[in-house]
Symmetry: C2
């Protein structure tokens, strides 16, 4: 058993992953850590300290959706793969996302106001602007976590759990999520550190290596019991078949799942978890939490695993449209 | 003469300055560098490499405003201290900022459409929302650099320089700015690296120590020729007397200048320059460019210089208003 991290115990070792260049000079630099593991938990590739903890944030969503399948709720309510995909989403609140969350709730016999994920404007700016123009206030359903919460509520409805306090870490649904996350990532429950996520459910911190291991297992089924492997692969296939529903327009998760065979789920504060059908998982954390560094760092790391995705336009432009610099990977894609 | 930085020459040494804590664990960490210098350029305090270069970005604005005083334009056009302050501003586009930019332009006999700083929505979100509600598109005057550009244009009008190409690094106004920046910061022109700023005028990269030295000089007049000292102190006093015009509501520069005797000017990508009447200047760069780290890092660094400003509410809240963590200085304010 690894020991839980302490305040002041020192910061984990990391390395430069990406930088913003202006003219010939690197203006800002983003450091980070990367773990690539096989389903047994062996580290295949590493940047920085892979044992140090990371908050999985929304990268835990595929695990948080597992009770939906394992409880029988998905079958008994006749959920579609679209509804399973949105239950794993950090979505843009575009029309297809809202439609999938609504139908998931309806099938579980629940109204929109059961959602307790908190309201924020749609992640996708044009949808946020549309809402504002119409004088409509963002509701919980527009929150990027509304699919996850709808899925949690559907399990509660199926299992006759209370729906008023489903966010509580002691609620039977959340106890099941924790147990499953531990099984997927190969940890004991006392090795996972639990805090509050911004949407009000538990946020899980675990070693970076364990998150990578979990994604190696979810994307292959290897290292899991038959029943859990079946549920994981059903979640995986729902996400792979509906990458738009997992994130949306101009989002890295969607782009990568459309361009490759990889399972991809990002999380707040610049976390990215990736699972390959070839039997490895990758977990990446930009130490400073900057979202802008995730794409170049991840594409360079994936190139190192033989997965080639075009870097596209990395240029940074000024207010006159002129190129003033670029955001570039620093990681040696070797 | 120090040598200009090269690509791939290695990244400057830095140290943790601030972190975002979630529950008991540091979720994200911001590293950075700090130089505190006297007007002679001697380093009094340091975090990380103080010789490594930094883009001053908008921290250069007090230097960019010097020709306004030295050319005689400020006197001949009868500019007020409010107009000088906004010429040094990265402003919020609140009503007083727009009024000061307009009157500066009017006194120089120039129309608003001479401004070439590029349009972006007001930095202050309520002003941006007001503009959007009214169906009005952001214009150059709403850009945070419009005061700087109005000041540059006023010099052009006074000196009968061309106004169409005033952003060009070879334009006589920009040549004067560079020469003055070098004199203030104690550098030769070939020691300053010039790239494009987002608003289209030159952006200056220089050693962090030199930026701190420059602010030690601007805030005291020491180390400068009598004529330059007079202009610098006039700029300083205009900023200190009108801190709101230099930034605006809920902005660190304004808050610090209202609460202390310090001259304060921030820049994009998490740069902050401070000058003390007690004879020192401080330059701070958060290595990853994260604005959220500047306040806690700067307040801790200032505490180390004996300047006590309340840290206030550093808590991070979730979507239900509950505290999920905090943004905290990591710098030992010793």
């Amino acid at each position: 058993m690894s020991s839980l991290p302490q305040r002041g115990a020192g910061l984990p070792e990391d390395a430069p992953l990406a930088a913003v260049r202006r003219g010939p000079l690197l203006e800002s630099v983003h450091r980070g850590r990367i773990a690539v593991c096989d389903p047994r938990g062996d580290v295949l590739d590493a940047v920085g300290d892979t044992e140090a903890y990371v908050y999985a944030r929304s990268s835990a969503k595929p695990c948080q959706a597992l009770p939906l399948v394992l409880s029988g709720a998905a079958d008994d309510f006749g959920l579609t793969d679209e509804e399973l995909a949105v239950a794993c989403a950090s979505h843009n609140a575009e029309r297809p996302h809202l439609a999938a969350v609504r139908s998931l709730l309806e099938k579980a016999g629940l109204a929109e106001d059961y959602l307790q994920n908190g309201a924020h404007p749609p992640l996708y700016a044009p949808e946020a602007a549309k809402l504002a123009r119409g004088g409509e206030k963002p509701r919980a359903i527009h929150g990027n976590c509304s699919g996850k919460h709808a899925g949690m509520l559907a399990v509660c409805a199926h299992e006759r759990y209370a729906t008023g306090d489903y966010r509580d870490p002691g609620h039977p649904l959340q106890r099941r999520v924790l147990a499953l996350l531990c099984e997927v990532c190969g940890l004991d429950e006392d090795e996972v550190l639990i805090s509050g996520d911004n949407c009000g459910v538990p946020a899980f911190a675990l070693p970076l290596r364990s998150l990578a291991t979990g994604f190696a297992r979810i994307s292959t089924g290897e290292g899991l019991s038959d029943q859990l492997a079946g549920a994981a692969l059903r979640i995986r296939d729902a996400m792979l078949d509906h990458p738009f529903l997992v994130a949306g327009t101009e989002r890295l998760d969607t782009e990568l799942m459309e361009a490759t065979a990889l399972l991809v789920k990002s999380g707040a504060e610049a976390v990215l978890a990736v699972g390959s059908p070839e039997g490895w998982g990758m977990a990446l954390k930009v130490s400073d939490g900057a979202g802008r560094a995730v794409r170049p760092a991840a594409l360079a790391a994936l190139l190192g695993r033989g997965v080639e995705v075009p870097f596209g336009d990395l240029e940074v432009r000024g207010l006159h449209g002129e190129v003033v610099g670029a955001i570039e990977p620093l990681l040696d894609a070797g």
